[in-house]
Every structure is written in C-alpha cells, then in structure tokens.
C-alpha cells in the first residue's frame, strides 16, 4: 500500500487561507463601507470570486467550495453549521468571521482533495 505524505505543497493550510480570505477578499471588497441593500449582491459575488481565484492560484490539488454570508447588523441571531462526508485525512475546511460597524461577513471554505 502506498503511503501518502502530506507535504506543504499538497496540504490545506488553514492559517494561510484565513489570511487570504480576510485581507484579500473581504477587506478589499467591503472594507469600512456601511451596509447597503443594493450593494450586497455585488459584495457577495466579489468576495466569493476573489476568494476562489486566490485559492486556485495556490495550485494545490483540491476542489474548493466557498460560501459567503453577508448579514446586516440589527440584533438578529444567526447560526451556521456544516457536516461533511469526506476523507478525514486530507480534506479540510475553514471558516472566517469578519465584521465592521454595520455588517457581518462569514466565509466558509471547504477543500476536498483530488
């Protein structure tokens, strides 16, 4: 049986991905802008597409699923959860929470090894 070694080049590194999502995708898209109903379509699309293109640039052997939730701050409660049927040794996920004065943004990234 072949032994598969998890090396830097083929691993899903949660810290790197968290940094990419926060600094590159969310901050450059929303930044300090106030929540605006007519802009959130564009924001969610932009965050998701920027995230995906940054992830594909990493060149790692993963299929990616990126989900972004943008929520207006008005005191309402929100909960997210996920369940996966996958390969525990190689597949990973990470969740990034971000906020400014008027908006919450939650991004979930799932990396499924190819």
């Amino acid at each position: 049986m072949d032994e598969f070694q998890l090396s830097e080049e083929t691993a899903f590194v949660v810290d790197d991905i968290t940094t990419i999502i926060k600094d590159v995708s969310i901050c450059t898209t929303i930044g300090s802008s106030a929540y605006q109903q007519n802009r959130i379509n564009q924001w969610t699309s932009s965050v998701v597409e920027t995230s995906l293109s940054q992830l594909s640039k990493l060149g790692k052997p993963f299929k990616y699923i990126v989900t972004c939730i943008i929520l207006q701050k008005n005191g309402a409660g929100l909960h997210t959860a996920s369940s996966c049927f996958w390969d525990n040794t190689m597949d990973r996920s990470c969740m990034v929470r971000w906020e400014n004065k008027t908006t919450y943004c939650i991004v979930c990234v799932f990396g499924l090894a190819v």
Binding site: M1, F4, Y35, Q37, I40, N41, W43, T44, S45, V47, V48, E49, S51, L52, L55, S56, K63, Y64, I65, V66, T67, C68, I69, I70, L71, Q72, K73, N74, G75, A76, G77, L78, H79, T80, A81, S82, S83, C84, F85, W86, D87, N88, T89, D91, S93, C108, F110, L112, V114
Partner: protein, 124 residues
C-alpha cells in the same frame, strides 16, 4: 468504495452511467425534511446553534443514503432569526461541473429562516 478508501487504485476518472449526483432529487428530499422538522418552530437564541448542527447532521445522513458511490458530501446549514434584516448568501466552487453539483432548500416563517446547501463532489 468510500471516498476515504485510498488503498486501492480503480482508475475511475468519471462516475458510472446513471450514477451522477442528482440535485433535483436531493433538493426534494431536503426540502421535505425542513418542512416537516421546522413546522411550527420558532427562533431561540440558546438552542439556535444546536438546531443548526442537528439539521446539518440529519441532512447529511439522509442525503448519504440516496447518494451515488464515490461522492463526497458537504452540507451547510444557516439558521437565523427573522427580523427583516438584509441577508445574502452566495456560493462558488472550483470543481468539475460535469460531475459535481449542489442542491439548495429554504424554510421561512415569522420567527426564523433556515437555508441548507448540499454539495456533491465526485471523488476519483
């Protein structure tokens, strides 16, 4: 074989004919589960996170039963209080669009809303 079984090489780069992830079938199943489980439910801050995890595990188990072989599943649930706030959820994937697919189901009443997304990803 299970997605986690990396011991044997079967040289399968595509699913068998008729063994694709059927998004519409999954959508109907998950929608029915939500409609029945959340009927009459109201939002509760203390139990919200527990509810979202229960739904997530439940949906994943049920979808796994009807899922074709060699498919990995990712199931996400969002449960929120309905207070007329603005909310937008978007999702994008880097995958094989010929064999991978997803299904979405939503439930809403005066007190809460729930969104479920299930992604089915073929594993070579």
């Amino acid at each position: 074989s299970l997605p986690g079984d990396s011991g044997s090489n079967t040289y399968k780069t595509e699913p068998e004919k008729g063994c694709l992830f059927k998004a519409s079938k999954v959508q109907k199943l998950v929608q029915a589960m939500l409609d029945s489980y959340l009927d009459g439910a109201s939002y509760n801050a203390a139990s919200g996170s527990h509810l979202s995890q229960i739904l997530s595990d439940m949906v994943k188990s049920k979808v796994k039963e009807i899922s074709p072989p060699r498919y990995k599943l990712v199931c996400q649930v969002v449960v929120g209080q309905n207070r007329n706030q603005g909310l937008r959820v978007a999702s994008r994937c880097l995958w094989d669009s010929q064999h991978d697919d997803f299904a979405v189901a939503m439930f809403q009443n005066h007190s809460l809303f729930t969104l479920v997304i299930v992604h089915g990803v073929y594993c070579e």
